[in-house]
């Protein structure tokens, strides 16, 4: 409630300053204008693209310090208290203690070792939510300097260099990450990120046999129904999401939050 109020104030303040934009995104978030998402996998009955209404997205992944504030305020999400149904044994295992980060978890580095349940609870605590796959991918499709990131050689170089390295023991801070054209930063190069509907990855049809995602994922058949079989980075994100269960956490998986636009501040694209 408080943060919502702050957002309102910020909107008013910026409006008064005549900053040349219609309205402001909440602190730490960027407004993503309406656009579309081209799914990696489609079946013949699916539309080629999915419209994505405008929304707010965190500029950066959630940090250890931010997540620490969450577990301070919500004791049931502390490492020693959390239910094993909602987080597996590696939950926050890089922290020294329940409320102590330590050298493996610098305060301004993206938080990892969080489950989908924990990430969702964090977002809810701030009046936010997790982005959908469509929202996340729609933002990540932008390049640094061009709207189609697939044509941005610098971005692709950064993506594949990151993918080629094992996950470091200490995730570096993303505070200097370069923004893409939509203003979001560190979508690549630091951590994988949870999305609200991660478990729909690869589901392609109605029947159990056809929708068994592992089956469609493997070997040559992994390319059946794919929009662009040369988008290896998209396959890897899809594979990562498919490998997860909601209580899982791992060394390279963090998240960021999204929020709906307020009806009054929504703009037409």
């Amino acid at each position: 409630m408080i943060s919502r109020f702050r957002h309102l104030l910020a909107t008013i303040t910026l409006g008064l300053m005549g900053a040349g934009i219609n309205h402001a995104a909440p602190t730490g978030m960027v407004e993503i204008p309406a656009g579309e998402y081209v799914p990696l996998f489609t079946s013949p009955v699916d539309p080629a693209s999915v419209p994505v209404p405008a929304f707010y997205l965190d500029e950066l992944p959630v940090t250890n310090a931010q997540f620490l504030a969450f577990v301070q305020a919500n004791p049931k999400w502390r490492r020693s208290n959390v239910s094993p149904l909602f987080a597996d044994q590696s939950y926050l295992k890089h922290w020294v203690g329940d409320l102590e980060l330590g050298s493996l978890a610098p305060s301004d580095s993206p938080v990892v070792h969080v489950s989908w349940f924990a990430a969702r609870a964090y977002a809810k605590w701030l009046g936010k939510r997790l982005p959908t796959t469509a929202e996340w991918e729609r933002v990540a499709a932008a390049g640094y300097t061009v709207s189609n990131g697939r044509e941005d050689t610098e971005l692709n170089g950064d993506i594949y260099r990151w993918l080629a390295r094992p996950t470091p023991n200490v995730i570096p801070s993303a505070s200097e990450a370069r923004p893409n054209q939509l203003g979001a930063r560190a979508l690549f190069g630091y951590v994988w990120e949870w999305v609200s509907d991660f478990n729909t990855a690869m589901v392609t049809g109605e029947s159990r046999a056809d929708s068994g995602l592992e089956r469609d994922l493997f070997c040559g058949s992994g390319s059946v129904g794919a929009r662009d079989t040369s988008d290896y980075a998209a396959f890897m994100r899809s594979a990562l999401r498919s490998s997860l269960q909601a209580h899982n956490s791992t060394s390279s998986l963090g998240f960021r939050c999204a929020r709906d636009l307020e009806p009054s501040s929504a703009t037409s694209p």
Binding site: R165, S196, T200, G212, A239, S243, L244, Q245, S251, S252
Partner: protein, 503 residues
């Protein structure tokens, strides 16, 4: 892509978890069915842990005459390791090596397989063992997130030498990063005993840097899709089986190679120079041995075993007989055989003598005729302006060919060079004001600072001593007239004059 509302989806997940049904959840995500109920006859079998070995080593032959329950623990790790001298690559591995650990079981064994994905892994991985009968060859049951472990059980129904590999999308990248290995299912009756067994796999690698480029190399998606490998390697690096790492044997021993082609794309024309395979078990099948084979074809995702007795000492070179791969891309290994020589089987060089063939006298005659003909043609061209202008066109054409082989790498195809590093040729005042100097630079090289179009350059251009006089004349004529330049033409005589000037 089915876009189901996230609330509904998470509701289903929660319900599944809270009701304790997760293990039997029929949702496609993370389908976990629980340990299999093995029948008493199988439960009664002895349990043993599989001995896994790193290449080029092979676990010892199986001596038991009955089936067993074999437990295999295989760890997936993403590791940076040497791919060539001075160059490293982040390999994705089964067991920390390329190829992955060698697994040896017996026909009829029931295998409890654990795939452990190290927490530092960037990606989820799985394993498709070609020895497995079942969907995905195990891949559907072994899809494992970083920092997780999967278990599945299979019965080895068919004997043979089988490839295993990661089958997670994008598969060519997982396999192209080294995720493959061999699993040997020995026939129930065993294999003929040999003195030494070795494990070698060929794989193609696609790096953004050229072959041998130093530093950490990155996977090149475009080269991979185009199937243009930078490296074709035996056991994951240039020289993995060379010098001190060479395979060894003694004269009189019989060697067995277990050879697989991991791919992702290339088949192998596997050959050992100076040996003939006494027995090949083609395509990994032990039921149809072939004898007296020179080169055996190994398909990508396939394997073969080959036995041969080494009769004489020396170094025997293992190659993919698609020879550019051996000569230029690393597909080369060595087997060093020591022991006494047998000069009846192979004598070594017996005699070295001089041989002139038909080059002795006739050669000089031919040369005379050639020189006279050249003179005649030159006189004809000089006296005929039509031919002379035609000559310039021909020179331009030939000069372009030289340029695109020798010069374009620095001065670029458009002649614009690289600002501050390689001076431009297009519209270059330095080039166009002094034709002889241009010839001199090509003949003798150029070092030290020069000013071109107001910019200072201080690089070194080597003398192009590999070009003959005609090629120099052609290429200088080309650069003097291409890209809007208008600098006249250069003859072979001009080149010789500059060449002979005193320094």
């Amino acid at each position: 892509m089915k876009t189901s509302p996230s609330i509904l989806t998470s509701g289903l997940l929660c319900a599944a978890l809270l009701s304790g049904q997760w293990a039997n959840a029929s949702e496609p995500v993370g389908e976990v069915e629980g340990p299999v109920d093995l029948p008493p006859a199988i439960l009664a079998l002895p349990v043993e842990n599989a001995v896994l070995t790193a290449p080029p080593h092979v676990p010892p032959p199986i001596t038991r005459k009955h089936s067993a329950r074999v437990v295999v623990h295989l760890e997936v790790r993403e590791v940076e390791a040497r791919i060539a001298d001075g160059a490293t690559y982040t390999f994705w591995t089964f067991g920390g090596t390329v190829p992955g650990s060698f697994i040896r079981i017996r026909e009829g064994d029931v295998v409890e397989f654990h795939l452990n994905n190290h927490p530092s892994s960037k990606l989820p991985h799985n394993i498709d063992l070609h020895a497995v009968t079942g969907p995905g060859g195990g891949a559907t049951s072994s899809f494992t997130a970083p920092g997780h472990s999967s278990q599945f059980t299979f019965k080895a129904l068919n004997p043979g030498l089988f490839v295993y590999h990661c089958a997670t999308a994008p598969v060519p990248m997982h396999v192209g990063n080294g995720m493959y290995g061999l699993i040997l299912v020995e026939p129930a009756e065993g294999l003929p005993p040999v003195d030494r067994e070795y494990y070698v796999m060929q794989g193609d690698f696609y790096t953004q840097g050229r072959y041998g480029e130093p530093g950490l190399q990155t996977f090149d998606m475009v080269k991979s899709i185009d199937e243009h490998p930078t490296y074709v390697l035996f056991n994951g690096s240039v020289g993995a089986l060379v010098g001190d790492n060479a395979l060894t044997a003694n004269v009189g021993e019989t060697v067995r190679l277990y050879f697989g082609a991991g791919g992702p794309n290339l088949t192998s024309s596997f050959h050992v120079i100076g040996e003939i395979f006494d027995t090949v078990y083609p395509e990994g099948s032990f039921s149809t041995p072939q004898h007296n084979i020179q080169t055996t074809l190994i398909p990508a995702g396939g394997a073969a075993a080959m036995d041969f007795k080494v009769d004489v000492p020396g170094t025997f070179v293992l190659v993919d007989h698609s020879l550019s791969r051996a000569f230029n891309k690393g597909a080369l290994g060595m087997l060093k055989v020591s022991g006494p020589s047998d000069r009846v089987i192979y004598s070594g060089k017996e005699i070295d003598a001089i041989y002139l063939g038909d080059q002795a006298e006739a050669g000089t005659e031919a040369q005379k005729r050639e020189v006279e003909l050249e003179k005649k043609i030159a006189a004809e061209i000089k006296s005929n302006p039509t031919i002379a202008s035609l000559t310039k066109e021909v020179q331009m054409e030939r000069g372009k060919r030289v340029y695109m082989q020798v010069c374009f790498a620095c001065h670029l195809p458009d002649g614009k060079g690289l600002p501050k590093v390689f001076p431009p040729l297009a519209q270059s005042d330095y080039l166009l004001t002094d034709k002889d100097r241009a010839i001199r630079v090509v003949l003798k090289g150029q070092t030290g600072p020069i000013t071109v179009n107001g910019e200072t350059y201080n690089s070194a251009m080597p003398a192009q001593s590999q070009l003959n006089d005609e090629q120099v004349a052609d290429v200088v004529t080309y650069i003097l007239n291409e890209w809007g330049n208008d600098g006249g033409s250069v003859s072979v005589d001009d080149v010789r004059r500059v060449k002979n000037e005193t320094n």
